[in-house]
């Protein structure tokens, strides 16, 4: 691997990741539909993954991509479990409204 300059300034990559992260967070905060929440979560995870890959490229080592693969694994695991719960919820409530789940409070 010959050393080469990074394509763009690191700051720009970071800024993109931060924006993606915040958009994802905004989605989690505002959407009542569970599926949309899950998608927003994927956005947040992707933002983190992007920083890892970016950093890996900056330092030229493989750790960043290894972490990316781990994030991929996590995303798969979480989505699988979350969808299982979504199906269960829908089976009982015929709705995906997360705000209807406030049986416990105080």
């Amino acid at each position: 691997m010959e050393s080469q300059g990074l394509l763009i300034p690191i700051e720009h990559g970071l800024l993109f990741a931060a924006a993606l992260f915040c958009i994802g967070l905004a989605g989690v905060l505002t959407r009542r539909n569970l599926l949309f929440m899950l998608m927003s979560l994927e956005l947040m995870l992707n933002a983190a993954a992007f920083v890892f890959v970016l950093a890996g490229a900056v330092h030229g080592n493989a750790d960043g991509q290894v972490m990316f693969i781990l994030i991929l694994t996590l995303a798969a695991a979480e989505v699988a479990l979350a969808l299982a719960l979504v199906v269960q919820l829908y089976r009982r409530r015929r709705s995906l409204d997360i705000d209807s789940l406030d049986g416990m409070r105080g």
Partner: protein, 169 residues
């Protein structure tokens, strides 16, 4: 090349915006896939072809298909779209948006003057493979355990037993 990178970033952000503002779950999911593809392209341009491939194959390919499958299965229909529109509107939106904007501003302030000694280099699939099956061997094993946990959990949670109380399971 830098121009392509910025274009991808712009597409990703816009598509992400559509994901969180959309009303139809299926459309939103397609936008999410656009985000993932754009990010994959950016990975490629950052010199991480392996990550780019995985992003397309596994993320956009496998995980998203799972979501498509569930959305289709639940089949919420047009009434759901109307409901989404109603939920999306109004005051609900402002507070969280403000919060996220503040967070973004803070992150921008914190991250922007990044002082990093960069010796950028492309990291290809061989290097990643070496790392994975060299020092991080245990990590691969543990990742399999993580998937196993999700598998067992999801299997258990979606299993429907027809037994009624009193019968031996």
């Amino acid at each position: 090349m830098p121009f392509l990178f910025y274009l991808c970033a712009l597409i990703a952000l816009l598509a992400a915006w559509q994901v969180i503002r959309g009303v139809n779950a299926m459309h939103a999911l397609l936008y999410l896939i656009v985000v993932l593809l754009a990010i994959a392209l950016m990975f490629f341009m950052l010199g991480a072809p392996f990550a780019a491939a995985l992003e397309v194959i596994i993320y956009a390919g496998a995980i998203m298909v799972l979501m498509v499958f569930v959305i289709m299965m639940l089949n919420q229909g047009d009434s759901a779209v109307g409901q989404e529109r109603a939920w999306r509107a109004g005051r609900i939106w402002r507070g969280p948006a403000l919060l996220c904007a503040v967070l973004l501003a803070q992150l921008g302030y914190l991250l922007l003057p990044a002082v990093v000694s960069a010796d950028a280099a492309a990291v290809d699939a061989v290097a990643v493979g070496r790392a994975l099956y060299g020092p991080y061997l245990l990590l691969v094993e543990l990742a399999s355990m993580l998937l196993l946990a999700a598998l067992v959990g999801a299997w258990h949670l979606t299993r429907v037993l027809k037994h009624r109380p009193g019968e031996e399971v």
